[in-house]
């Protein structure tokens, strides 16, 4: 398993670099800007400004990470089909279950890194200056950050589904993104026209996202496990 994980990490090297980039750069910019502001602006308000800027950067990072998740899902299985190394892997005595587990584990680790770092930053900001966040009007921070998390997860799962069928990482990622957005818009359209305003709650988009994610992940994985060709 160790070698499988190493192989999958190596195959996702670009994704890892992207993840590092979107985690480090926005937050670093926030820190730099705030430090600079400390010197220049007279109405600097100490930690409150740090917490504001870092909150913005961390949520931006989560927003950007949804694209990284899309690429990660698209890359998962299709990357080995693109250069046909899947055919090499196919004649080694490794079960499909192990291959898929390794890929999911690597995706989980990269995803966890992005989320843990950003949520920690957001959490620290909140704990340091809680009153800052109480003043914020709707939507609440939980919804915003949670929304990006769900979006990332959905993008990953839908692009994963395409990756299980297709030969190209780029097309899998693109198709997955397109399909998710299309379904979301279509769903929103339907909900807007058929459901009464008062009954529209957070659970509609949440329900869609979770259903779509589960169906895609399970469907794609089941197909890949059953398929004989690499």
């Amino acid at each position: 398993m160790k070698w499988l994980l190493w192989k999958d990490f190596r195959l996702n090297w670009l994704i890892i670099i992207m993840a590092l980039f979107i985690v480090v750069v926005p937050n670093l910019i926030a820190v730099t800007v705030t430090c600079y502001a400390k010197h220049d602006y007279h109405n600097y308000n100490g930690s409150a400004d740090f917490s504001n800027t870092l909150f913005v950067s961390a949520t931006s990072s989560l927003f950007l990470s949804s694209i990284v998740f899309a690429f990660m899902g698209g890359n998962a299985i299709a990357c080995e089909r693109a250069d046909r190394s899947a055919e090499f892997l196919a004649y080694l005595p490794i079960s499909r279950g192990k291959i898929i587990t390794s890929k999911l584990l690597v995706a989980l680790l990269i995803g966890a890194f992005i989320w843990i770092v950003n949520f920690s930053i957001i959490g620290i900001c909140y704990l340091a200056v809680p009153q800052n966040f109480m003043q914020k009007s709707s939507p609440p921070i939980g919804a915003v950050t949670g929304g990006f998390l769900i979006a990332g997860l959905t993008f990953f799962c839908v692009t994963w589904l395409f990756s299980c069928f297709m030969q190209s990482q780029a097309i899998s990622a693109g198709s997955g993104l397109f399909t998710t957005l299309l379904l979301t818009y279509a769903f929103a359209f339907i909900v807007h026209f058929f459901i009464v305003e008062e009954n529209i709650t957070i659970f509609w988009p949440l329900g869609l996202a979770i259903t779509l994610s589960l169906a895609s992940l399970v469907g794609g994985t089941w197909y890949y496990l059953r398929r004989v060709e690499p």
Partner: protein
């Protein structure tokens, strides 16, 4: 239920059919290969050799009544087949970014057992640089690496799919030596598909000729070559040949010359031809493997 590992055939195929869309790549193929033999699978390009081998390795789906490798059904337990068979594919798609040492380490973790000594000795024999990346290996070195990976896990059988195509004569020799070395040490069954007839002749005891997904003949090489002969008859002016002798696989008339390639040759068949009215003179010729191969293929094409 424990399968009789020692006595079951190495390969047992019955009624194998594989379609790619409307093209029939393998057409109701039945083939049995006993353990310990070296089987040469011959056929022109597109005959279905690679397809059959991939199906045997469990990397292509197909319909078959029976599909067993070393007593194991490939469709239900492909992992066990892959564990026990050493496969060298026609096209090598080993991860190009890995180094030779990393490829070996990766494969080593998949197989039990893995013979480190065989691996090291073969690495030295083939003079492969462990630090080199796969993308920097020449075609010959890639083929040798594939063979190294195939033999290092002590397989009971080797499946070689056109392993010599595109290799220069020196690398071909090294590769053959590698294969022979492992046959001598372990006495395993080998199936080699190729259209390099000379190399197949050297390596194999039995051959099978495949064309358009169908098996035309399967026999011991020496037996086939000694019992298949060409009967060359000179025809009298204006005469056409009548029915060819029994067992004719291919015949041709060129002016006054009538040539028939006949299986299960016997002097009676020569008498039969001599006795025909239109025949003036009869001669018998022996065939080499290349001519025999071509005649089988041409014969099947004509009979369609």
């Amino acid at each position: 239920m424990t399968p009789q590992k020692d006595t079951s055939p190495a390969i047992e195929i019955q009624g194998l059919t594989k379609r790619f869309g409307r093209t029939v790549a393998v057409d109701n193929l039945s083939l049995t290969i006993p353990r310990g033999s070296t089987f040469g699978l011959l056929g022109p390009n597109g005959a279905g050799k690679s397809t059959t081998i991939k199906i045997l390795m469990g990397i292509l789906s197909a319909m078959a009544e029976k599909l067993q490798v070393l007593g194991v059904d490939v469709r239900t337990n492909p992992k066990l087949v892959k564990q026990r068979v050493g496969y060298v594919p026609e096209m090598h798609h080993i991860y190009r970014w890995m180094r030779v040492s990393e490829v070996i380490g990766f494969c080593r973790s998949c197989y039990q057992p893995w013979n480190d000594r065989t691996c090291r000795e073969t690495l030295d024999l083939f003079a492969l640089d462990p630090a080199k990346k796969v993308k920097h290996l020449s075609k010959g070195m890639l083929a040798k690496l594939s063979l190294l990976l195939a033999v290092s896990h002590e397989p009971e059988m080797l499946l070689l799919d056109e392993p010599l195509s595109g290799l220069d004569p020196i690398v071909r020799e090294e590769f053959l030596e590698g294969v022979l070395g492992t046959i001598c040490s372990r006495g395993q069954t080998v199936l080699i598909s190729s259209h390099m007839l000379d190399d197949v002749r050297r390596l194999s005891d039995t051959i099978g000729i495949l064309n358009e997904g169908r098996l035309l003949v399967q026999d011991n090489i020496d037996h086939l070559l000694t019992t298949t002969k060409r009967i060359c008859a000179t025809l009298k002016d204006g005469c056409r040949p009548e029915r060819p002798p029994e067992g004719t696989i291919w015949q041709r008339v060129n002016g006054r010359e009538w040539i028939a390639t006949v299986r299960d040759f016997s002097p009676d068949k020569v008498q039969q031809v001599s006795a025909l009215d239109g025949v003036e003179h009869v001669e018998v010729q022996d065939l080499g493997l290349e001519e025999l191969f071509k005649d089988f293929i041409k014969g099947q094409r004509v009979s369609k």
